[in-house]
């Protein structure tokens, strides 16, 4: 990448676009708008960290918010309860590049069915399942764009939706967990496939290939081989000379003028002074929790219930993707702590099947995702000794001989599941803390249990000497997948944004991130979030070019 002086804009200068968030969506949006000639300021909550300074420090990154958001979140299962801080946790990164820096890099496309399952299956009691206003065919060119612009390794699988171009990079080398998973799954007549990942199996676009260090999940890649926004998109945006990434900028309100048009974003700078960045249009890419929070904090006389919330749907139909996990222990060392987390998966159970008696589908992948501390704290079965000589022996002997089969499932859009503002708890800036209300639809739990049962069968068929439930099928109190809270739709009464990602209520305000998703898919939403951002960037640029913003 050519080094060019980074542009900076005074806040008083009205730029074409101010984007809130520099993650999977924000990074792509910044690149798409700036390379099309627009001036862009990106406000990022967190600091800018040079990838060379990313650390392999489990204690700091997993237990002390090394690069993740430490703000308090309150949690409750139902609207009747009072939410409690510490009752559950949201995990997202806070740095330039956002959660695309620390994600595990599993990179599934949605399938065609994810876009029109309501039409195929009809309504589901207790949920507000809807079709997307766009189809898989509409999004396919942008999935391909993601693969070729950010860099994805993989090969087509038997259940994959149609693709217009091959993967740019071959799959990552298989690991022992993948070999054993294939062995077990094939014995059962299943069809395992290579896992597509946003990690470079070969050098690509001037970036390094993966060095197999093993620190993907919840860590930043110091080699630049993980295809984060930080590694793949932001350098391109900055090289235009038109895009400023402004770290340590904590957005608190989208400001409107008397006519109800957005004039910019009010934020706290690194010294916690309030600033207003003026812009012709505002794009929120802050994630499925922070985007609705910012809208709900942006109340005004015109929008007493929160900005762009005339439908009352801002923050509603929160979806996570759920799933349960089965661990198996094998005779010989797998050494799964090396290299990427996942190399093989099965999509045999992707589609919902009415014969099962409940809604839902998903995937199973073979992985290991515990680092030394998290392994020793909770890796063994609950029934195993948790201290003493036998504990010590098992912790040592099982570490390199164990693998996990993880289920990844649908999460139904339940209207009561939501992101809202906590009436009491505050963050470090004195702003209302995020309040999560979440209770999985019973069918979410059923599909999780179904995949857990299949995982146990696969472990047996693969020759596991011992197996146990790593985490059960139960309602979630933790997630990194924040989806569906500002749904896309054609009807302004039941959705927040239109198919161009423009809010129904404010002509020059756009939203694009996990909040835009109408259904949850079956897990691994980042690929879809990036594809949506490529598509939205193109459409927003088109609207701006035609003077339609």
């Amino acid at each position: 990448m050519q080094i060019s002086p980074r542009v900076t804009y005074p806040t008083s200068t009205e730029v074409d676009f101010v984007i809130v968030g520099s993650g999977a969506a924000g990074g792509v949006m910044a690149k798409e708008l700036s390379t099309r000639g627009f001036s862009v300021v990106v406000l990022e909550q967190g600091p800018r960290i040079d990838p060379a300074r990313f650390e392999h420090d489990e204690f700091k990154y997993l237990f002390h918010n090394g690069i993740s958001n430490p703000s308090p979140v309150s949690w409750r299962k139902t609207e009747q309860e009072e939410a409690r801080v510490g009752g559950g946790e949201l995990l997202y990164a806070r740095l330039v590049g956002g959660s695309s820096v620390h994600f595990t890099a599993n990179f599934w496309r949605l399938h065609e069915i994810d876009f029109h399952e309501r039409s195929r299956l009809g309504g589901i009691p207790g949920a507000d399942l809807q079709d997307w206003p766009i189809s898989y065919a509409d999004l396919e060119p942008y999935y391909t764009k993601v693969e070729w612009e950010v860099g994805v390794s993989g090969e087509p699988g038997p259940f994959d939706p149609p693709r217009s171009r091959p993967y740019p990079l071959p799959p990552m080398p298989n690991k022992s967990a993948g070999v054993l998973f294939e062995r077990g799954a094939r014995k059962l007549g299943l069809n395992p496939q290579s896992a597509p990942v946003a990690i470079l199996s070969r050098p690509f676009n001037g970036r390094n290939a993966c060095q197999h260090c093993g620190y993907c999940m919840q860590f930043g890649c110091e080699y630049g081989a993980k295809s984060s926004s930080l590694a793949a998109m932001i350098p391109v945006a900055e090289a235009t000379g038109r895009c400023e990434i402004r770290p340590n900028s904590y957005a608190r309100k989208v400001e409107l003028d008397a006519r109800g048009r957005a004039v910019g974003v009010i934020y706290f700078d690194a010294e916690r002074r309030e600033q207003l960045q003026r812009a012709k249009a505002v794009v929120l890419c802050a994630n499925g929790a922070e985007t609705p929070r910012l809208l709900l904090m942006s109340k005004s006389n015109r929008f007493p219930d929160g900005l762009a919330n005339s439908s009352g749907r801002v923050g509603k139909t929160l979806m996570f993707n759920v799933g349960a996990g089965a661990m198996g222990r094998f005779e010989h060392p797998l050494n799964e702590y090396r290299s990427i987390q996942v190399t093989r998966l099965s999509h045999d159970f992707y589609d919902s099947d009415p014969k099962r008696g409940f809604y839902g589908g998903g995937g199973i992948d073979a992985r290991f995702q515990r680092y030394p501390i998290t392994w020793a704290l909770g890796g063994l079965a609950d029934t195993a000794p948790q201290w003493g000589s036998e504990y010590k022996r098992m912790v040592g002997e099982y570490f390199n001989r164990s693998m996990l089969l993880a289920g990844h499932t649908t999460s139904l859009p339940v209207p009561q599941n939501s992101i809202s503002l906590d009436p009491k708890a505050k963050d470090a800036w004195g702003l209302p803390a995020i309040r999560v209300t979440y209770n999985d639809h019973p069918d979410d739990i059923r599909i999780s249990q179904f995949l857990l049962d299949r995982s146990m069968e696969i472990l047996d068929a693969a020759g596991a000497q011992e197996k146990w439930v790593d985490y059960p099928a139960e309602t979630a109190t933790f997630t990194a997948h924040l989806l569906g809270t500002c749904r896309m739709g054609k009807d302004p009464k039941t959705s927040v944004i239109d198919p161009d990602h423009r809010t129904h209520d404010v002509r020059n305000l756009f939203l694009c991130d996990g909040s835009s998703m109408v259904t949850s898919g079956r897990g691994q939403p980042t690929m879809t979030i990036m594809a949506l951002a490529f598509r939205a960037g193109e459409r927003i640029a088109g609207l701006a070019g035609r003077g339609e913003i």
Binding site: D57, F63, A406
Partner: protein, 193 residues
């Protein structure tokens, strides 16, 4: 979902048992890290930051039953007590008093049961285990287990995991770069097995 496992780890650390070892402020972790580097680099005898020698002996005795030194290095050889001392001096400083109170309680239980014993640390391992089994559901024991595990398996720069004793127990190597094959089964598959 890929992160469910983290949830379990988080709950293990964040529940009543382990809140002591979490700090929301990474700056405090930096401070602990810097301090640990200095003390580990300093020549012996090691000076504890906040623990008295008797307190350190008592807490270390508990840690040694959680990860004993039985043929291979345990919590003692890994220097877990130094990690705990550093934590109580920095990000977990509000947990010092509850932990010391828990140790006092353990010593009181010791004297009540074996009046001739000087302290918990002075008991034979079997007697120590007997007492610990009676309190293994308490916040004190949970905090000690979490702290011992973290001291055993965190980066050695935090003062524990000396000579990578914890990582050697697991067979975990911190090379940072690997090439396939990574394990037995993928090696076997490559050979056409």
């Amino acid at each position: 979902m890929s992160d469910q496992v983290t949830r379990r780890a988080f709950l293990a650390a964040a529940g009543a048992a382990g809140a002591a070892w979490l700090a929301a402020d990474p700056d405090l972790v930096h401070a602990a890290l810097a301090h640990a580097r200095r003390t580990v680099a300093a020549p012996p005898p090691y000076r504890f930051a906040v623990l008295t020698p008797a307190q350190a002996d008592g807490l270390e005795a508990v840690a040694m039953r959680i990860i004993p030194s039985d043929g291979t290095p345990g919590a003692r050889e890994a220097g877990v007590i130094h990690f705990i001392d550093q934590a109580l001096a920095s990000f977990a400083r509000d947990q010092k008093d509850p932990l010391i109170a828990g140790l006092d309680d353990l010593n009181a239980r010791t004297r009540a049961k074996w009046p001739e014993a000087a302290s918990f640390a002075a008991l034979a391992p079997e007697r120590q285990d007997e007492l610990l089994r009676a309190i293994e559901k308490t916040p004190f024991f949970g905090t000690m287990r979490t702290g011992t595990v973290m001291g055993m398996f965190s980066n050695p720069s935090y003062g524990g995991n000396r000579d990578q004793a914890g990582w050697k127990l697991l067979g975990f190597q911190a090379h940072g770069i690997y090439q396939p094959p990574f394990g037995y089964y993928d090696a076997e598959a490559r050979k056409g097995g």
